[in-house]
Amino acid sequence: MDISHARKEFIISEKERLLEEIPIVDEECNRDFIRAIIEMGGGDVQVCLQCGNCTGVCPVSLKTENKVRNIIKMCQMGLKERVLSTPWVCATCHRCYEHCPAGMNPAELIIALRHIVVRELGPPPFVVSISNNVANLGQAIEISDKILDLRKKIGLNEKPFDERYRSKAIMDIKTIMKATGYDKLIGIDLGD
Protein backbone atom coordinates (compact mmCIF):
# COMPACT_ATOMS: atom_id res chain seq x y z
CA MET A 1 0.00 0.00 0.00
CA ASP A 2 1.37 3.32 -0.92
CA ILE A 3 1.28 5.45 2.20
CA SER A 4 3.51 8.25 0.98
CA HIS A 5 0.40 10.16 -0.06
CA ALA A 6 -1.04 9.92 3.46
CA ARG A 7 2.22 11.01 4.96
CA LYS A 8 2.35 14.07 2.76
CA GLU A 9 -1.20 15.00 3.77
CA PHE A 10 -0.35 14.62 7.43
CA ILE A 11 2.64 16.87 7.17
CA ILE A 12 0.91 19.49 5.06
CA SER A 13 -2.12 19.80 7.31
CA GLU A 14 0.10 19.75 10.35
CA LYS A 15 2.11 22.65 9.06
CA GLU A 16 -0.90 24.92 8.97
CA ARG A 17 -1.48 24.44 12.60
CA LEU A 18 2.09 24.98 13.65
CA LEU A 19 2.87 28.20 15.46
CA GLU A 20 6.36 29.23 14.83
CA GLU A 21 8.15 29.72 18.08
CA ILE A 22 10.84 32.27 17.61
CA PRO A 23 13.47 31.71 20.27
CA ILE A 24 14.34 34.68 22.40
CA VAL A 25 17.90 35.87 21.79
CA ASP A 26 20.39 37.95 23.76
CA GLU A 27 19.60 41.17 21.91
CA GLU A 28 16.14 41.21 23.41
CA CYS A 29 17.50 40.98 26.94
CA ASN A 30 18.10 44.47 28.21
CA ARG A 31 19.74 44.57 31.65
CA ASP A 32 19.14 48.30 31.92
CA PHE A 33 15.46 47.55 32.10
CA ILE A 34 15.89 46.05 35.56
CA ARG A 35 17.61 49.22 36.75
CA ALA A 36 14.95 51.39 35.13
CA ILE A 37 12.29 49.53 37.05
CA ILE A 38 14.15 50.07 40.32
CA GLU A 39 14.47 53.77 39.55
CA MET A 40 10.75 54.03 38.95
CA GLY A 41 10.16 52.51 42.36
CA GLY A 42 9.12 49.08 41.15
CA GLY A 43 11.47 47.19 43.42
CA ASP A 44 14.19 44.71 42.55
CA VAL A 45 12.75 41.97 40.36
CA GLN A 46 15.79 39.79 41.05
CA VAL A 47 14.46 38.79 44.48
CA CYS A 48 11.56 36.91 42.92
CA LEU A 49 11.71 33.13 43.45
CA GLN A 50 9.08 32.53 40.75
CA CYS A 51 7.10 30.52 43.27
CA GLY A 52 3.77 31.47 41.72
CA ASN A 53 2.01 32.46 44.92
CA CYS A 54 1.22 35.93 43.57
CA THR A 55 -0.43 34.50 40.49
CA GLY A 56 -2.45 32.17 42.64
CA VAL A 57 -4.03 35.02 44.60
CA CYS A 58 -4.29 37.61 41.83
CA PRO A 59 -7.90 38.25 40.74
CA VAL A 60 -6.74 39.42 37.32
CA SER A 61 -4.37 36.49 36.69
CA LEU A 62 -7.29 34.17 37.23
CA LYS A 63 -9.20 35.74 34.35
CA THR A 64 -6.49 36.54 31.83
CA GLU A 65 -3.68 34.74 30.11
CA ASN A 66 -0.91 37.00 31.25
CA LYS A 67 0.06 35.89 34.72
CA VAL A 68 1.87 38.16 37.13
CA ARG A 69 4.69 35.70 37.57
CA ASN A 70 5.32 35.64 33.82
CA ILE A 71 5.53 39.40 33.73
CA ILE A 72 8.06 39.36 36.56
CA LYS A 73 10.07 36.65 34.80
CA MET A 74 10.17 38.69 31.62
CA CYS A 75 11.33 41.69 33.61
CA GLN A 76 14.02 39.56 35.24
CA MET A 77 15.34 38.75 31.81
CA GLY A 78 15.08 42.34 30.71
CA LEU A 79 12.61 41.63 27.88
CA LYS A 80 11.45 45.21 27.74
CA GLU A 81 9.83 45.13 24.31
CA ARG A 82 7.93 41.97 25.09
CA VAL A 83 6.70 43.23 28.45
CA LEU A 84 5.57 46.59 27.17
CA SER A 85 3.72 45.05 24.25
CA THR A 86 1.92 42.45 26.34
CA PRO A 87 -1.28 43.76 27.82
CA TRP A 88 -1.32 43.61 31.58
CA VAL A 89 -3.85 44.93 34.00
CA CYS A 90 -3.64 45.26 37.74
CA ALA A 91 -6.30 46.10 40.30
CA THR A 92 -3.61 47.10 42.86
CA CYS A 93 -5.38 44.95 45.41
CA HIS A 94 -1.97 44.10 46.96
CA ARG A 95 -2.78 40.46 47.58
CA CYS A 96 0.46 39.61 45.79
CA TYR A 97 2.47 41.70 48.24
CA GLU A 98 0.63 40.16 51.15
CA HIS A 99 1.58 36.63 50.10
CA CYS A 100 5.00 37.04 48.54
CA PRO A 101 7.65 35.15 50.55
CA ALA A 102 10.48 37.10 48.98
CA GLY A 103 9.06 40.44 50.14
CA MET A 104 8.39 41.73 46.64
CA ASN A 105 5.46 43.92 45.69
CA PRO A 106 4.36 42.95 42.17
CA ALA A 107 1.69 45.67 42.23
CA GLU A 108 4.41 48.29 42.62
CA LEU A 109 6.26 46.64 39.76
CA ILE A 110 3.23 47.07 37.54
CA ILE A 111 2.95 50.70 38.62
CA ALA A 112 6.58 51.20 37.59
CA LEU A 113 5.86 49.56 34.24
CA ARG A 114 2.94 51.93 33.80
CA HIS A 115 5.26 54.84 34.42
CA ILE A 116 7.58 53.56 31.73
CA VAL A 117 4.72 53.04 29.28
CA VAL A 118 3.38 56.53 29.85
CA ARG A 119 6.79 57.97 29.20
CA GLU A 120 7.69 55.88 26.19
CA LEU A 121 4.45 54.91 24.53
CA GLY A 122 2.07 57.53 25.83
CA PRO A 123 -0.83 57.34 28.28
CA PRO A 124 -3.99 55.34 27.62
CA PRO A 125 -7.03 57.48 26.72
CA PHE A 126 -8.83 57.08 30.03
CA VAL A 127 -5.80 58.51 31.85
CA VAL A 128 -5.96 61.57 29.64
CA SER A 129 -9.67 62.12 30.09
CA ILE A 130 -9.68 61.73 33.86
CA SER A 131 -6.59 63.93 34.21
CA ASN A 132 -8.45 66.55 32.20
CA ASN A 133 -11.39 66.30 34.56
CA VAL A 134 -9.21 66.79 37.59
CA ALA A 135 -7.41 69.71 36.00
CA ASN A 136 -10.55 71.49 34.88
CA LEU A 137 -13.14 70.45 37.43
CA GLY A 138 -11.03 69.53 40.44
CA GLN A 139 -12.73 66.14 40.49
CA ALA A 140 -12.23 62.90 38.62
CA ILE A 141 -15.74 62.61 37.22
CA GLU A 142 -18.23 65.06 35.81
CA ILE A 143 -21.61 65.44 37.36
CA SER A 144 -24.71 64.76 35.31
CA ASP A 145 -27.90 66.80 35.38
CA LYS A 146 -29.73 63.89 36.95
CA ILE A 147 -27.36 63.89 39.90
CA LEU A 148 -27.48 67.68 40.21
CA ASP A 149 -31.25 67.44 40.56
CA LEU A 150 -30.91 64.57 43.03
CA ARG A 151 -28.56 66.59 45.20
CA LYS A 152 -31.07 69.41 45.43
CA LYS A 153 -33.87 66.97 46.09
CA ILE A 154 -32.21 65.30 49.05
CA GLY A 155 -31.22 68.57 50.68
CA LEU A 156 -27.58 69.03 49.71
CA ASN A 157 -26.03 72.01 47.99
CA GLU A 158 -26.64 71.64 44.30
CA LYS A 159 -23.03 72.03 43.31
CA PRO A 160 -20.79 69.43 44.94
CA PHE A 161 -17.81 71.72 44.99
CA ASP A 162 -18.20 74.90 47.03
CA GLU A 163 -18.04 77.73 44.47
CA ARG A 164 -16.18 80.03 46.82
CA TYR A 165 -13.17 77.75 46.83
CA ARG A 166 -13.49 76.00 43.54
CA SER A 167 -11.63 78.32 41.26
CA LYS A 168 -8.65 78.63 43.60
CA ALA A 169 -8.50 74.87 44.01
CA ILE A 170 -8.54 74.34 40.26
CA MET A 171 -5.87 76.96 39.82
CA ASP A 172 -3.78 75.18 42.45
CA ILE A 173 -4.12 71.92 40.60
CA LYS A 174 -3.14 73.47 37.31
CA THR A 175 -0.14 75.18 38.90
CA ILE A 176 0.98 71.92 40.45
CA MET A 177 0.55 69.99 37.22
CA LYS A 178 2.55 72.55 35.32
CA ALA A 179 5.28 72.55 37.94
CA THR A 180 5.68 68.77 37.82
CA GLY A 181 5.38 68.70 34.06
CA TYR A 182 2.37 66.44 34.27
CA ASP A 183 0.54 68.38 31.59
CA LYS A 184 3.26 67.72 29.08
CA LEU A 185 3.65 64.14 30.17
CA ILE A 186 -0.01 63.33 29.65
CA GLY A 187 -0.64 65.79 26.89
CA ILE A 188 -3.35 67.96 28.36
CA ASP A 189 -3.79 71.63 27.73
CA LEU A 190 -3.98 73.73 30.88
CA GLY A 191 -4.18 77.15 29.32
CA ASP A 192 -2.14 79.58 31.43
Binding site: P59, A91, C93, H94, E142, K146, Y165, D172, T180
Partner: protein, 315 residues
Amino acid sequence: MIDTKDARTAAKYGLFYGCIIPNRYPGIERSVKVIFEKLGCNQLFSEMPQATCCPVPGIFYSSDKDTWLVLAARNLCIAQDRKQELVTFCNGCFSSLLMATEQLSDPKKLGMVNRILKNVFMKYTGVPRVTPEGRRILEPIKVRHFVDVLYRDIGLETIKSAVVNPLNGLRVAVHYGCHYLRPTENECIEDPVNPIMVDDIVASLGAKSVNYENKLDCCGAGGGVRSHVVGLAAAISRDKLMNISNVGADLIVTPCPYCLLQLDTVQERLELPRVPVFHVAQLIALALGADPQCLGLEAHAVRADEIISKYGGTK
Protein backbone atom coordinates in the same frame (compact mmCIF):
# COMPACT_ATOMS: atom_id res chain seq x y z
CA MET B 1 -25.44 72.87 55.13
CA ILE B 2 -21.98 74.22 54.70
CA ASP B 3 -20.06 74.31 57.88
CA THR B 4 -16.77 76.12 57.55
CA LYS B 5 -15.39 76.70 60.95
CA ASP B 6 -12.65 79.15 61.60
CA ALA B 7 -9.24 77.51 61.43
CA ARG B 8 -8.47 78.21 65.05
CA THR B 9 -11.54 76.49 66.35
CA ALA B 10 -11.83 73.80 63.70
CA ALA B 11 -13.65 70.59 64.52
CA LYS B 12 -11.60 67.47 65.28
CA TYR B 13 -12.36 65.77 61.97
CA GLY B 14 -12.39 67.10 58.41
CA LEU B 15 -14.76 65.37 56.01
CA PHE B 16 -13.13 64.26 52.78
CA TYR B 17 -15.78 62.96 50.40
CA GLY B 18 -13.66 62.42 47.33
CA CYS B 19 -15.18 62.41 43.84
CA ILE B 20 -17.60 59.50 43.50
CA ILE B 21 -19.77 60.39 46.46
CA PRO B 22 -20.64 64.03 45.64
CA ASN B 23 -20.83 63.49 41.88
CA ARG B 24 -22.37 60.08 41.54
CA TYR B 25 -23.90 58.81 44.78
CA PRO B 26 -24.78 61.96 46.74
CA GLY B 27 -27.07 59.90 48.95
CA ILE B 28 -23.98 58.76 50.81
CA GLU B 29 -23.05 62.37 51.56
CA ARG B 30 -26.52 63.07 52.85
CA SER B 31 -26.58 59.87 54.90
CA VAL B 32 -23.33 60.84 56.59
CA LYS B 33 -24.85 64.12 57.69
CA VAL B 34 -27.90 62.34 59.04
CA ILE B 35 -25.69 59.98 61.02
CA PHE B 36 -23.87 62.81 62.75
CA GLU B 37 -27.13 64.55 63.50
CA LYS B 38 -28.68 61.47 65.01
CA LEU B 39 -25.56 60.61 67.02
CA GLY B 40 -25.34 64.16 68.23
CA CYS B 41 -21.74 64.62 67.20
CA ASN B 42 -22.11 67.23 64.49
CA GLN B 43 -19.70 69.51 66.22
CA LEU B 44 -16.87 67.03 65.77
CA PHE B 45 -17.01 67.14 61.99
CA SER B 46 -16.58 69.92 59.50
CA GLU B 47 -16.44 70.23 55.74
CA MET B 48 -13.25 70.62 53.75
CA PRO B 49 -14.45 72.81 50.88
CA GLN B 50 -11.00 73.32 49.37
CA ALA B 51 -10.44 69.60 48.98
CA THR B 52 -10.12 68.17 45.49
CA CYS B 53 -9.76 64.72 44.05
CA CYS B 54 -7.49 62.76 46.44
CA PRO B 55 -5.95 62.25 43.56
CA VAL B 56 -7.37 59.01 42.20
CA PRO B 57 -4.55 56.47 42.57
CA GLY B 58 -5.50 54.34 39.57
CA ILE B 59 -4.69 57.31 37.34
CA PHE B 60 -2.16 59.52 39.07
CA TYR B 61 -0.16 57.04 41.13
CA SER B 62 0.14 54.95 38.00
CA SER B 63 1.31 57.69 35.67
CA ASP B 64 3.45 60.04 37.73
CA LYS B 65 4.12 59.43 41.42
CA ASP B 66 5.51 62.93 41.97
CA THR B 67 2.36 64.63 40.74
CA TRP B 68 0.25 62.25 42.76
CA LEU B 69 2.19 63.03 45.92
CA VAL B 70 1.97 66.80 45.52
CA LEU B 71 -1.74 66.75 44.82
CA ALA B 72 -2.25 64.47 47.82
CA ALA B 73 -0.07 66.67 50.00
CA ARG B 74 -2.19 69.65 49.04
CA ASN B 75 -5.27 67.92 50.41
CA LEU B 76 -3.35 66.94 53.53
CA CYS B 77 -2.28 70.55 54.03
CA ILE B 78 -5.89 71.58 54.26
CA ALA B 79 -6.38 69.27 57.20
CA GLN B 80 -3.02 70.24 58.60
CA ASP B 81 -3.75 73.94 58.67
CA ARG B 82 -6.91 73.30 60.61
CA LYS B 83 -5.17 70.75 62.85
CA GLN B 84 -7.78 68.18 61.85
CA GLU B 85 -7.85 64.47 61.30
CA LEU B 86 -8.87 63.76 57.74
CA VAL B 87 -11.78 61.31 57.49
CA THR B 88 -12.40 59.50 54.20
CA PHE B 89 -15.45 57.59 53.06
CA CYS B 90 -13.79 55.77 50.22
CA ASN B 91 -11.20 52.99 50.29
CA GLY B 92 -9.39 54.58 47.36
CA CYS B 93 -9.10 58.01 49.01
CA PHE B 94 -8.10 56.31 52.24
CA SER B 95 -5.32 54.33 50.61
CA SER B 96 -4.13 57.25 48.50
CA LEU B 97 -3.91 59.74 51.36
CA LEU B 98 -2.49 57.25 53.87
CA MET B 99 0.25 56.26 51.40
CA ALA B 100 0.98 59.95 50.93
CA THR B 101 1.49 60.52 54.67
CA GLU B 102 3.90 57.58 54.75
CA GLN B 103 5.91 58.80 51.79
CA LEU B 104 6.07 62.36 53.07
CA SER B 105 8.14 61.19 56.01
CA ASP B 106 11.00 60.78 53.50
CA PRO B 107 12.88 64.11 53.59
CA LYS B 108 13.76 63.96 49.88
CA LYS B 109 10.15 63.55 48.83
CA LEU B 110 9.04 66.16 51.34
CA GLY B 111 11.53 68.62 49.88
CA MET B 112 10.25 68.04 46.37
CA VAL B 113 6.65 68.43 47.46
CA ASN B 114 7.17 71.62 49.41
CA ARG B 115 9.16 73.19 46.61
CA ILE B 116 6.13 72.82 44.37
CA LEU B 117 3.56 73.63 47.02
CA LYS B 118 5.30 76.95 47.52
CA ASN B 119 3.79 77.99 44.21
CA VAL B 120 0.34 77.64 45.71
CA PHE B 121 1.32 79.13 49.07
CA MET B 122 1.13 75.89 50.98
CA LYS B 123 3.64 73.90 52.98
CA TYR B 124 3.37 70.38 54.35
CA THR B 125 4.92 70.21 57.80
CA GLY B 126 2.84 67.84 59.84
CA VAL B 127 0.95 68.65 63.00
CA PRO B 128 3.02 70.05 65.87
CA ARG B 129 2.69 68.09 69.08
CA VAL B 130 4.47 68.06 72.40
CA THR B 131 5.36 64.59 73.64
CA PRO B 132 4.88 63.60 77.29
CA GLU B 133 8.64 64.06 77.74
CA GLY B 134 8.30 67.61 76.51
CA ARG B 135 9.86 67.19 73.09
CA ARG B 136 8.36 69.15 70.21
CA ILE B 137 7.70 66.90 67.25
CA LEU B 138 5.84 67.12 63.98
CA GLU B 139 3.38 64.29 63.55
CA PRO B 140 2.11 63.30 60.15
CA ILE B 141 -1.49 64.16 59.40
CA LYS B 142 -3.84 61.46 60.61
CA VAL B 143 -5.85 59.94 57.80
CA ARG B 144 -8.83 57.90 59.01
CA HIS B 145 -11.44 55.75 57.40
CA PHE B 146 -15.02 56.49 58.34
CA VAL B 147 -15.55 52.92 59.56
CA ASP B 148 -12.54 53.17 61.84
CA VAL B 149 -13.79 56.47 63.29
CA LEU B 150 -17.20 54.98 63.96
CA TYR B 151 -15.80 51.82 65.52
CA ARG B 152 -12.91 53.14 67.57
CA ASP B 153 -13.77 56.78 68.29
CA ILE B 154 -17.54 56.91 68.43
CA GLY B 155 -18.13 53.33 69.47
CA LEU B 156 -20.62 50.59 68.71
CA GLU B 157 -22.55 51.28 71.90
CA THR B 158 -23.33 54.85 70.83
CA ILE B 159 -24.52 53.65 67.44
CA LYS B 160 -26.56 50.81 68.92
CA SER B 161 -28.35 53.06 71.36
CA ALA B 162 -29.25 55.47 68.57
CA VAL B 163 -30.89 52.79 66.45
CA VAL B 164 -34.62 53.52 66.22
CA ASN B 165 -35.31 51.35 63.21
CA PRO B 166 -33.63 47.99 63.88
CA LEU B 167 -32.94 46.09 60.68
CA ASN B 168 -33.97 42.74 62.11
CA GLY B 169 -33.98 39.93 59.62
CA LEU B 170 -32.01 41.82 57.00
CA ARG B 171 -29.34 39.52 55.56
CA VAL B 172 -26.34 41.59 54.61
CA ALA B 173 -23.31 40.50 52.61
CA VAL B 174 -20.38 42.69 53.59
CA HIS B 175 -17.80 43.53 50.95
CA TYR B 176 -14.77 45.16 52.54
CA GLY B 177 -12.78 45.96 49.44
CA CYS B 178 -9.05 45.60 48.88
CA HIS B 179 -7.85 49.05 49.86
CA TYR B 180 -9.69 48.90 53.14
CA LEU B 181 -7.88 45.69 54.06
CA ARG B 182 -4.49 46.66 52.66
CA PRO B 183 -4.29 50.45 52.36
CA THR B 184 -0.48 50.60 52.32
CA GLU B 185 2.45 48.19 52.56
CA ASN B 186 3.06 49.10 56.18
CA GLU B 187 -0.26 49.95 57.78
CA CYS B 188 -3.72 48.58 58.12
CA ILE B 189 -6.65 49.40 60.37
CA GLU B 190 -7.50 45.84 61.23
CA ASP B 191 -6.46 42.25 60.51
CA PRO B 192 -6.58 41.92 56.71
CA VAL B 193 -7.22 38.20 56.90
CA ASN B 194 -9.98 38.38 59.49
CA PRO B 195 -11.70 41.79 59.43
CA ILE B 196 -14.68 42.41 61.71
CA MET B 197 -15.43 46.12 61.99
CA VAL B 198 -18.07 46.44 59.29
CA ASP B 199 -19.60 43.11 60.29
CA ASP B 200 -19.86 44.33 63.87
CA ILE B 201 -21.43 47.60 62.78
CA VAL B 202 -23.98 45.72 60.69
CA ALA B 203 -24.79 43.53 63.68
CA SER B 204 -25.21 46.53 65.95
CA LEU B 205 -27.90 47.81 63.60
CA GLY B 206 -29.88 44.63 64.13
CA ALA B 207 -29.08 43.12 60.76
CA LYS B 208 -27.22 39.87 60.15
CA SER B 209 -23.94 39.78 58.29
CA VAL B 210 -23.94 36.56 56.30
CA ASN B 211 -20.77 34.75 55.42
CA TYR B 212 -20.15 33.88 51.78
CA GLU B 213 -17.38 32.14 49.90
CA ASN B 214 -14.30 34.23 49.12
CA LYS B 215 -15.76 37.14 51.05
CA LEU B 216 -12.51 39.09 50.97
CA ASP B 217 -12.09 38.92 47.20
CA CYS B 218 -11.65 41.99 45.02
CA CYS B 219 -14.58 43.62 43.21
CA GLY B 220 -12.42 44.08 40.13
CA ALA B 221 -12.81 47.83 39.67
CA GLY B 222 -9.72 49.36 41.24
CA GLY B 223 -6.30 50.15 39.87
CA GLY B 224 -7.73 51.42 36.63
CA VAL B 225 -9.20 48.05 35.66
CA ARG B 226 -12.74 49.35 35.39
CA SER B 227 -11.68 52.27 33.22
CA HIS B 228 -9.33 50.25 31.08
CA VAL B 229 -10.91 46.84 30.61
CA VAL B 230 -14.46 47.06 31.87
CA GLY B 231 -15.18 43.47 30.77
CA LEU B 232 -12.45 42.10 33.01
CA ALA B 233 -13.80 44.04 35.96
CA ALA B 234 -17.20 42.57 35.22
CA ALA B 235 -15.78 39.03 35.13
CA ILE B 236 -14.18 39.51 38.53
CA SER B 237 -17.36 41.03 39.98
CA ARG B 238 -19.39 38.19 38.59
CA ASP B 239 -17.59 35.64 40.75
CA LYS B 240 -18.25 37.70 43.82
CA LEU B 241 -21.91 38.29 42.99
CA MET B 242 -22.40 34.58 42.31
CA ASN B 243 -21.06 33.72 45.74
CA ILE B 244 -23.29 36.36 47.30
CA SER B 245 -26.43 35.18 45.55
CA ASN B 246 -25.59 31.59 46.56
CA VAL B 247 -26.19 32.52 50.19
CA GLY B 248 -29.32 34.49 49.43
CA ALA B 249 -28.26 37.85 50.80
CA ASP B 250 -30.79 40.71 50.68
CA LEU B 251 -28.25 43.50 50.46
CA ILE B 252 -24.57 44.15 49.81
CA VAL B 253 -22.86 46.70 52.02
CA THR B 254 -19.45 48.19 51.35
CA PRO B 255 -17.32 50.98 52.81
CA CYS B 256 -16.14 52.07 49.35
CA PRO B 257 -18.16 54.02 46.78
CA TYR B 258 -16.05 52.75 43.90
CA CYS B 259 -16.75 49.13 44.86
CA LEU B 260 -20.36 50.26 45.18
CA LEU B 261 -20.28 51.78 41.71
CA GLN B 262 -18.83 48.60 40.26
CA LEU B 263 -21.10 46.11 42.00
CA ASP B 264 -24.13 48.30 41.38
CA THR B 265 -23.69 49.04 37.68
CA VAL B 266 -22.29 45.67 36.65
CA GLN B 267 -25.44 43.76 37.59
CA GLU B 268 -27.22 44.95 34.43
CA ARG B 269 -24.78 42.91 32.37
CA LEU B 270 -25.04 39.77 34.45
CA GLU B 271 -27.77 37.20 34.58
CA LEU B 272 -27.94 36.88 38.30
CA PRO B 273 -30.63 37.79 40.81
CA ARG B 274 -30.35 41.51 41.54
CA VAL B 275 -28.97 42.45 44.94
CA PRO B 276 -29.00 46.13 45.89
CA VAL B 277 -25.73 47.66 47.05
CA PHE B 278 -25.43 50.23 49.83
CA HIS B 279 -22.59 52.19 51.33
CA VAL B 280 -22.11 51.59 55.07
CA ALA B 281 -23.25 55.14 55.75
CA GLN B 282 -26.55 54.60 53.94
CA LEU B 283 -27.31 51.48 55.97
CA ILE B 284 -26.50 53.16 59.27
CA ALA B 285 -28.58 56.22 58.36
CA LEU B 286 -31.53 53.96 57.59
CA ALA B 287 -31.24 52.22 60.94
CA LEU B 288 -30.91 55.52 62.76
CA GLY B 289 -34.27 56.56 61.39
CA ALA B 290 -33.38 58.64 58.34
CA ASP B 291 -36.05 59.47 55.78
CA PRO B 292 -35.36 56.96 52.97
CA GLN B 293 -35.26 59.93 50.59
CA CYS B 294 -31.93 60.93 52.14
CA LEU B 295 -30.30 57.75 50.96
CA GLY B 296 -30.50 59.06 47.40
CA LEU B 297 -31.33 55.62 46.01
CA GLU B 298 -32.41 57.02 42.63
CA ALA B 299 -28.75 57.16 41.76
CA HIS B 300 -28.39 53.40 42.20
CA ALA B 301 -28.81 51.12 39.20
CA VAL B 302 -30.22 48.25 41.23
CA ARG B 303 -33.48 49.24 42.93
CA ALA B 304 -33.81 48.74 46.65
CA ASP B 305 -37.59 49.17 46.79
CA GLU B 306 -38.21 45.97 48.77
CA ILE B 307 -35.76 46.92 51.46
CA ILE B 308 -37.14 50.42 51.77
CA SER B 309 -40.69 49.21 51.97
CA LYS B 310 -39.73 46.78 54.73
CA TYR B 311 -37.32 48.94 56.71
CA GLY B 312 -37.92 52.50 55.58
CA GLY B 313 -40.67 53.04 58.10
CA THR B 314 -39.71 55.44 60.84
CA LYS B 315 -39.43 59.09 59.96
